[in-house]
Amino acid sequence: MIALKGAGIRRGERWIFRGLDLSLAPGRCVAVLGPNGRGKTTLIKAVTGLDKLDEGTRTAPPLVAYVPQVIAPLPYRALDVVVMARARSLGLFGTPRRADYDIARAALARIGAEAFTEQRLDRLSGGERQLVLLARALATQSPVLVLDEPASALDLANQSRLVAVLRDLRAAGEHAILFSTHLPTHALEVADEALLLMGPEDQRQGPVDAVMSESNLSALYGTPLRRRQVAIEGHGLVETIIPLH
């Protein structure tokens, strides 16, 4: 579906990452974890094809659905932003037709963002814009969905909403999902696998339970962390990660 083999990107002499293997099938969800400046965004852009690899190969569908961290608060209607996902299939002189709008509306409905349909993007909050971007990504109908720190600008309620949406999408099994995050608990909640960017040439990848061990995470972030299960009434056991300050 989508794969990087021996992938590397460098800036000048410095390798951001190198020798990275990644493959992703529909219904699978991979979380990319790493501290600031370790190349999460660069990796995301490499997967989408926005950044060219300096080394290695990339196999991908012609279009990868991409949710950037932010979008400029332009004065366009949310529906008109979502329908831009159809631009590629519409051709150079095409403008969206009813069928394209139906796809856009369905994408907004799928993530429960119908309420924003007629709202202008610059009148929405950062979290609401994020959802519009996610809807736009779905409206591309690409089987690969890539999100760059989708939760970074969201408050707790909107984070829960995003986590729920990603879980639904994973359960539906149509998309191969890759997202980067600063919140390891999101990886535990949503992802099947985690990719830890330990260093430019050291990536650890595997099922979240195995690879997100206390020792790996503590080494990754350079700060001691503990993983605990907490019994919460009505929710059963909830996995969490606690930094020890």
Binding site: I71, L74, Y76, P96, T140
Partner: protein
């Protein structure tokens, strides 16, 4: 053709209403322009004369009146209309693609290039079609120069394009000054100065026949790309992530804009402000979506330039240079629009 296909009935109706209103406005302005002049005519006479070319109408007017309308005013009004449409659509497209509401089509340096071409032609004693051709060629050369300088490894960022345009414009402005410096103070110098100030005074059917196809082609290109321009206005990464060949699409828009700029300068001299002010006014009527904004700008730009040209030839005994008038009208209108926009944003 649906204009905006806004995806909802009320949205589509609103878009249609805006376009119909602007088209009716343009029609009224054009009739008024045909009526106005040293020899003023009634709207009925003007409409009768124009219609008599299409369907048989019993003439209730003199030969002189007919000749004034058909040979003098009509080609001039039509040329002004299509030039205004082109300049305003070009401005709206540039502001979208470069994601900057302060740019005008002049930013590519094409009008400066075309000015130089025209000035050199006048200096060499050329006029008519040779002047027009020289201006058009130099304007096209300016775009090629911008492209050659701005593109590195086949790519050029929007900021680089703007800065390169400024550089090329400055270069050609200096060359225009140089031609003025070496021009004959009592023959070619005033000719260059007046030509640069802009005018439709020499408009004829033959000029219209040469200018209209080029302008229409470039207008169609920009109108065809109106949804692409929406996507491009999101920014480079976003548009690329949606699978668009951003670089190619952008240069297609630049090419269309350059064609329009070079043609307008070649036939009518430098007419500033239309490409900057009209899109802003159109935005207040039609909104920000380029699918409606670009056609709305074209219609509004056509009305605006016909109106300004009519004022230029009727206000005082001698013709006021068009470029002077568009600036005198444009600057305060732009200031007003800015304030109104600011106020709306504060209260919104």
């Amino acid at each position: 053709m649906t204009i905006a296909a806004g995806g909802s009935m009320s949205h589509d109706r609103g878009a249609t209403l805006v376009m119909v209103a602007l088209a009716v406005g343009l029609g009224l302005v054009m009739v008024a322009a045909l009526c106005a002049g040293r020899l003023s005519l009634s709207p009925g006479t003007v409409l009768g004369i124009v219609l008599s070319r299409i369907v048989p109408v019993d003439p209730s007017w003199s030969d002189l009146q007919e000749r004034i309308v058909l040979l003098v005013r009509l080609p001039r009004v039509l040329l002004a209309a299509i030039c205004g449409a082109a300049l305003a659509a070009a401005g709206a497209a540039m502001q979208g693609v470069l994601r900057n509401p302060l740019v005008s089509p002049h930013i590519l340096g094409v009008s400066s290039g075309a000015s130089f071409g025209g000035a050199v032609a006048i200096l060499l004693g050329l006029s008519g079609w040779l002047l027009i051709g020289s201006a058009f060629l130099a304007g096209s050369a300016a775009l090629l120069l911008v492209g050659a300088i701005a593109r590195v490894d086949g790519r050029a960022g929007t900021v680089t394009v703007v800065l390169t345009g400024v550089i090329v414009a400055a270069l050609f402005s200096a060359l225009v000054s140089l031609t003025q410096f070496v021009a004959e103070p009592d023959s070619s110098l005033p000719a260059i100065v007046f030509w640069l100030m802009g005018s439709f005074a020499t408009a004829s059917w033959r000029q219209l026949a040469a200018a209209a196809p080029v302008l229409a082609l470039a207008l169609m290109l920009v109108l065809g790309l109106r949804f692409r321009i929406n996507v491009l206005s999101l920014g480079e990464d976003d548009a690329r992530a949606l699978g668009l060949p951003v670089e190619r699409d952008r240069w297609l828009v630049f090419l269309a804009v350059a064609l329009m700029e070079a043609t307008v300068v070649a036939f009518a001299g430098v007419i500033g402000w239309v490409g900057l002010v009209v899109p802003h006014a159109a935005r207040m009527i039609a909104g920000e979506d380029h699918r409606l904004l670009i056609p709305a700008s074209a219609l509004l730009g056509a009305s605006y330039l016909v109106l300004v040209d009519t004022i230029a030839r009727t206000a005082v005994a001698a013709e006021i240079p068009l470029g002077v008038l568009t600036a005198i009208v444009g600057a305060p209108v732009f200031a007003l629009l800015l304030r109104q926009r600011q106020r709306r944003e504060l209260t919104a």
